[in-house]
């Protein structure tokens, strides 16, 4: 049989279900937040890496002239090479006739979401990939997901993260046009999963797989142009990898082939790492904040709880309970709360983490493995669920267990005296005048005045509740500020663009011809012919950078407005001057204004000098050079590959219409167009990459708001429970249900509003910190900070609503207190 003291613990838990629920909820919400945040962080990293490692990713990729199996076998037998594979990536464009039909309203598109922004008649980019042997891929493995495998002849398999963007389903037929202009209809025979590929939305192109026979069907060679090599040995340094790359390259070169580019990724790093990093960073920061937040909440709840029990502790001591027995009873109670909270929150946190990881998995194209709780996360959860409450309770319990029963039981001097203890301090202040005295006559009603005074009575608890709400609110507003900063930064980056559409040609034409023809199209008011080239930096150590866009606008072009962070912009008689941007600097941090820069353009090494750093360009690595010099350098004087036009009017629809008309006109005059894109489309695509981050931040903001609300409900309820006697007295002297209700609600509202004021203040620096960090990670430049007034107003509304809602239940309980309860509480 259970001894009476443990029966008391059980009854206290069971008998006061509202309080137990609140305390458990307060602890649980913290556990949940941390469980979900840290859980998704760990699970995302784990799943991402597991998936990525399972593909057997290459240590290096060498882009070269076409080669066949013979060279592949030779490379496979090189010392230091563990595995090698070739592949052919074939850039083409496609149209989706099914989508065309759907757009016309004839055929339902089913449940595949179709990007409504896209013009179904528009060609879009697709990368067709062919492996030597799909059934025995050594490096960069992919897996069949559904349908046919390997790719049947004259049919196509689509990477699963491209399906939605392409708007296709299995069995659809798409029209694909090769660079040589040959068009083929291909049936979508199946879906594959390639963990190395990301959302097509992010890349602006679809990924698909074809057999080498299909390659030939397009009139292309069966041979490969990429060599993927896995180095033997673990944890190789970059210079060891460089050395190996050198050996592979000389093998290839000896066979008479040209090497275009060698790419050595950071070992073990997922290609989506860049996109994930800021999210994981924010997750980490929010995880810590959630930890602090729930810590506050738990400390607050525990102290309030124990304060209520001080009298009972006194009684128990008076009838013979030793201090350590009392401590045992209450620690037992605290642990019971913790265990209940863990039981509720750990599974929910794991579910939340799974949901969120799933969301990340959809975006980053990885599979979520199981519903496991990483041990580190579980340990943190247990710490919050048990250690924090116990620690928070230890001091109040310890001091309450040590004071004399008289102190514990009396209404006298608890707030006073030399033996002041925290339990005592927070438990009674009858002896002390509230510091917050309203000497002046404020235009408030009596009950409102009471609310005002009550609010400031329990200063310790108020401080903790406020801290919770302030932090929650600050994070909420900060998150909105980050969101606005992202938009503002993108806006200012897009301030760069003063054109409306780009049309790229399959070959080069005279720049003045391009401009002349473009201006013939109605709706186009300005046009220029530019060069767009792709270059790689050859670093001083001989390695090559990722390909970078190189724009050569006409001298003094009015169609762009670059923002210069350092140095200067291109001037008309510049020769080998290059303006880099901050995004390029992020990958090549050693560059400065005045640095020499070696660039490999179309296989040719050229020497340049950095004259400026632009911060305001679209958020991708980009170089700007002077058109006359560039066209001379490329041996194509006066020639241009793209048309840049300005339309009137400039809304997205008019842009699209004008661009379409332009393409048709150009075709009609015999100019071969490769693709067209309006600036609004480009912008949407880039913003899309930040969407994850923003959606994610909003989820977190909501989560934190919930933590704050539960905290406030807890505080208000405990305040009311604690004041039962006083409320009873008020009723005895004639307070109506309404006025008791009002007193409590106004108090809650007051707390909400105060927290909002401080939260908004704190949100400013917090938001700045967060957006700077995110800006630095994503764009290598601090973002243009925009403090979110919407977020601030939004939080005021939310905090007020939460405060009122959080006070409703306690207020209802308060208005039910009867005079009789007062006696019962004596």
């Amino acid at each position: 049989m259970l001894s009476p003291r443990w029966r008391k613990v059980l009854r206290d838990l069971w008998g006061n279900k509202l309080r137990t629920t609140l305390v458990v909820l307060s602890i649980a919400v913290g556990i949940f937040a941390v469980g979900m945040i840290s859980g998704s962080q760990e699970a995302t990293m784990a799943a991402l890496n597991t998936g990525w490692q399972a593909t057997n990713p290459s240590s290096m990729t060498i882009y070269t002239d076409l080669f066949d199996e013979e060279l592949l076998y030779a490379v496979r037998h090189l010392p230091g090479v563990k595995e090698a594979d070739g592949l052919r990536a074939f850039g083409a464009r496609f149209k989706n006739p099914a989508q065309l039909a759907a757009a016309a309203g004839n055929v339902p598109t089913g449940d595949t979401p179709v990007n409504a922004m896209l013009d179904p008649e528009k060609w879009r980019n697709i990368s067709l990939i062919a492996y030597p042997d799909f059934e025995a891929i050594q490096v960069g493995k992919i897996w069949p997901q559904s349908g046919a495998w390997p790719p049947p002849e004259h049919q196509i398999l689509i990477e699963r993260a491209s399906m939605a963007w392409m708007g296709v389903r299995t069995d659809d037929t798409i029209l694909v046009e090769a660079p040589n202009g040959r068009q083929r209809r291909l049936r979508v025979a199946g879906v594959v999963h390639d963990p190395g590929q990301m959302q097509a939305t992010w890349m602006g192109q679809g990924i698909a797989y074809i057999s080498r026979d299909t390659l030939e069907w397009f009139g292309a060679s069966r041979d490969f142009d990429q060599l993927h090599v896995v180095a033997a040995g673990e944890n190789l340094t970059r210079s060891q990898l460089n050395q190996l790359a050198q050996q592979v390259r000389s093998k290839v070169e000896k066979s008479g082939r040209t090497i275009y580019y060698t790419y050595i990724p950071t070992p073990g790093k997922h290609p989506a790492g860049e996109a994930v990093e800021p999210i994981l960073m924010v997750l980490g920061v929010l995880g810590i904040l959630a930890l602090v937040l729930s810590g506050f909440l738990v400390v607050n709840t525990m102290q309030a709880l124990l304060t209520q029990q001080v009298r009972q502790m006194g009684i128990m001591k008076a009838i013979g309970a030793r201090s350590n027995q009392i401590m045992g009873i209450y620690l037992g109670m605290v642990i019971a709360f913790g265990v209940l909270a863990l039981a509720v929150a750990v599974p929910l946190g794991a579910l939340g983490a799974r949901g969120f990881t799933q969301y990340m998995g959809n975006l980053l194209n990885f599979d979520v493995i199981g519903l496991s709780i990483p041990p580190r996360v579980l340990a943190t959860e247990i710490m919050i669920g048990l250690a924090v409450p116990v620690l928070a309770a230890l001091y109040p319990i310890f001091s309450a267990a040590r004071i004399t029963p008289r102190e514990a039981m009396s209404d006298y001097g608890l707030a006073s005296g030399a033996r002041q203890t925290s339990a005592a301090r927070s438990s009674g202040s009858t002896g002390k005048k509230p510091r917050f005295e309203l000497r002046v006559r404020l235009p408030f009603s009596r009950p409102t005045l009471l609310s005002l005074r009550n609010t400031f009575r329990r200063k310790g608890r108020l401080a903790l509740t406020l801290a919770t709400l302030i932090l929650g609110g600050a994070i909420f507003i900060a998150v909105f500020s980050v969101r606005e900063s992202v938009f503002k930064t993108l806006d200012s980056m897009y301030d760069y663009v003063d054109y409306d559409a780009i049309v790229a040609f399959r070959r080069e034409y005279r720049a003045d011809q391009i401009a002349r023809e473009a201006l013939k199209v109605p709706g186009i008011v300005a046009a220029e012919g530019w060069r767009f080239d792709s270059a790689r930096r050859i670093r001083p150590d001989g390695t090559e950078s990722d390909p970078v866009f190189m724009r050569a606008p006409q001298p003094d072009s009015a169609l762009i407005r670059p923002r210069i962070a350092e140095g200067r912009w291109i001037v008309p008689d510049d020769e080998n001057a290059v303006v880099i941007n901050t995004m390029f600097l992020k990958d090549e941090p050693d560059l400065k204004v005045g640095s020499p820069l070696k660039l490999k353009i179309a296989g040719k090494e050229t020497a340049w000098q950095v004259v400026g750093i632009a911060s305001g360009t679209p958020p991708a690595p980009m170089l700007h050079v002077n058109y006359p010099y560039m066209s001379r350098l490329m041996g194509a004087v006066e020639q241009a590959g793209i048309a840049i036009v300005v339309t009137a009017p400039r809304d997205p629809a008019s842009q699209a219409a004008a661009a379409k008309a332009l393409e048709e006109h150009l075709k009609a005059v015999g100019m071969e167009v490769n693709y067209r894109q309006t600036s609004s489309e480009e912008r949407t695509q880039i913003i899309g990459r930040f969407e994850v981050l923003i959606v994610f931040l909003l989820i977190m903001a909501v989560l934190l708001a919930v933590v704050g609300a539960i905290g406030l409900t807890g505080t208000m309820s405990l305040n009311v429970l604690e004041r039962t006697r006083e409320i009873g007295v008020m009723r005895a002297i004639g307070a109506s249900d309404g006025s008791v209700f009002q007193i409590v609600v106004v108090e809650g509202l007051l707390i909400g509003v105060i927290s909002w004021c401080f939260g908004a203040l704190l949100a400013y620096p917090l938001g700045k910190l967060l957006s700077d960090a995110i800006g630095n990670i994503t764009m290598k430049t601090a973002m243009d900070y925009a403090f979110s007034v919407n977020g601030m107003v939004g939080w005021l509304v939310i905090a007020s609503v939460l405060a009122v809602v959080a006070s409703l239940l306690p207020a209802r309980n308060a208005s039910r207190v009867s005079v009789r309860d007062v006696l019962a509480y004596e």
Binding site: K8, K317, P405, A418, A824
Partner: protein, 393 residues
């Protein structure tokens, strides 16, 4: 000649080595020596007990009375160890409670003192029976099985056995107080301390609770009860009057009802408690008078010598009566021999001549009252003498 029979109980009482009944040298079950309690609060210091000396024997039923705020609760809390004294010494049985640490003190209290509060203070989430079992649990008394039985037995004793499994909130005030008393008896402590146990009860219920106390005293418990009710207090075996943090000697108050409380406190301070063994002579007829006595406990015999050298007990005096005033007022030698009761002995409060005089000077009413008694006594004495002489004749 008196010296050997006198034992002073001054402020240094227990510090003098003694061969008392208890381990700390105390003869009485409860002894308080110069107990001071000062409350410190934001408002400043307040001394609620100003040097209390008190002795209570086993089996006594002591009522503590006094105005509200006089320090009654404080006094009881000192004795139960519910609160700490500021200075002085409290000996209860073998324990000097001011030396105990909080935890030990609680355990000691659980076993030795049953505490009863004005507001019952039952734990709201435990049933009546469980409330009673709680002290046994804390002090690890009785086996787990016995606890329930004992709780039921105690509930029967206090007459609420049918309420055993109800929560306190469903019980009436009287029933709650009975449960609280049963809880105080849980570990069978020798002492019960009750602070206004009837304060929240109607007079009929109060009466029945009080009768319960009387029963318990009859069974050998020692009870210390704070009360407002003078009628109830009168039924206790002894009354301790508190005024402004000091004990007023109850017989002093009875003897000099005209004195103000301040004067009573002053007088209480000045009196010297003296104890005489059974049969000891306090005043010898014919000796020079030097003190005034008030009987605080026991009895004295007034002895007149007979002509044949025999003595005759003319009368006895009991607590509250005084002697020695005649000689002090009138001068001359003692008119009779006064000695302690041969069985009970006596305790008296003794006043030096100067103190006695200043008492009389303090109030004309007292002065007159004493002088009235003096004349009465002289008349009585004369009458007795002549009766005696007549008998002889």
């Amino acid at each position: 000649m008196f010296g050997s029979q006198l034992r002073k109980n001054g402020s240094s009482g227990a510090k003098t080595p003694s061969n008392g009944r208890y381990r700390n040298g105390n003869d009485h079950l409860i002894e308080l020596h110069d107990v001071v309690k000062t409350y410190r609060s934001a408002a400043g210091e307040f001394t609620a007990l100003k040097g209390i000396d008190l002795e209570v024997d086993g089996g006594e039923f002591v009522a503590v009375i006094g105005k509200s705020g006089s320090g009654k609760s404080t006094l009881v809390n000192m004795i139960t160890g519910i609160d700490r004294l500021t200075s002085g010494e409290i000996l209860v049985g073998d324990t000097a409670i001011q030396n105990l640490k909080e935890g030990k003190l609680a355990e000691w209290r659980g076993r030795n003192i049953g505490v009863i509060f004005q507001f019952f203070q039952l734990l709201p989430t435990l049933t009546a029976a469980e409330n009673i079992m709680l002290p046994m649990d804390f002090c690890r008394m009785y086996s787990t099985r016995e606890r329930r039985e004992r709780a039921m037995h105690l509930l029967e004793l206090v007459g609420v056995a049918d309420q055993a499994d109800k929560l306190p909130s469903t019980l009436s005030g009287g029933q709650q107080q009975r449960v609280a008393i049963a809880r105080a008896l849980a570990n069978d402590p020798p002492i019960l301390a009750a602070d206004e146990p009837t304060g929240n009860l109607d007079s009929k219920t109060a009466e029945s609770v009080f009768s319960l106390f009387e029963t318990l005293v009859a069974q050998g418990k020692t009870i210390l009860m704070v009360t407002h009710d003078r009628d109830l207090a009168r039924r206790a075996t002894r009354t301790v009057i508190l005024s402004d943090g000091a004990v007023i000697e109850e017989y002093l108050a009875k003897t000099f009802p005209a004195l103000t409380e301040a004067q009573l406190i002053e007088a209480t301070r000045n009196l010297e408690p003296v104890k005489f063994l059974p049969g000891a002579v306090i005043l010898q007829q014919g000796a020079a008078p030097d003190k005034f006595f008030i009987i605080t406990r026991g009895r004295v015999e007034v002895v007149l010598p007979e002509a044949n050298g025999q003595e005759i007990v003319a009368t006895t005096m009991v607590k509250g009566q005084y002697f020695g005033e005649v000689e002090l007022r009138r001068g001359g030698h003692n008119i009779a021999t006064i000695r302690a009761d041969p069985v009970l002995g006596v305790e008296v409060a003794a006043f030096e001549r100067a103190e006695f005089e200043s008492l009389l000077a303090a109030s004309t009413a007292v002065h007159d009252a004493i002088d009235r008694t003096v004349s009465e006594r002289i008349a009585e004495n004369e009458a007795a003498r002549s009766r005696l002489e007549r008998n002889h004749a």
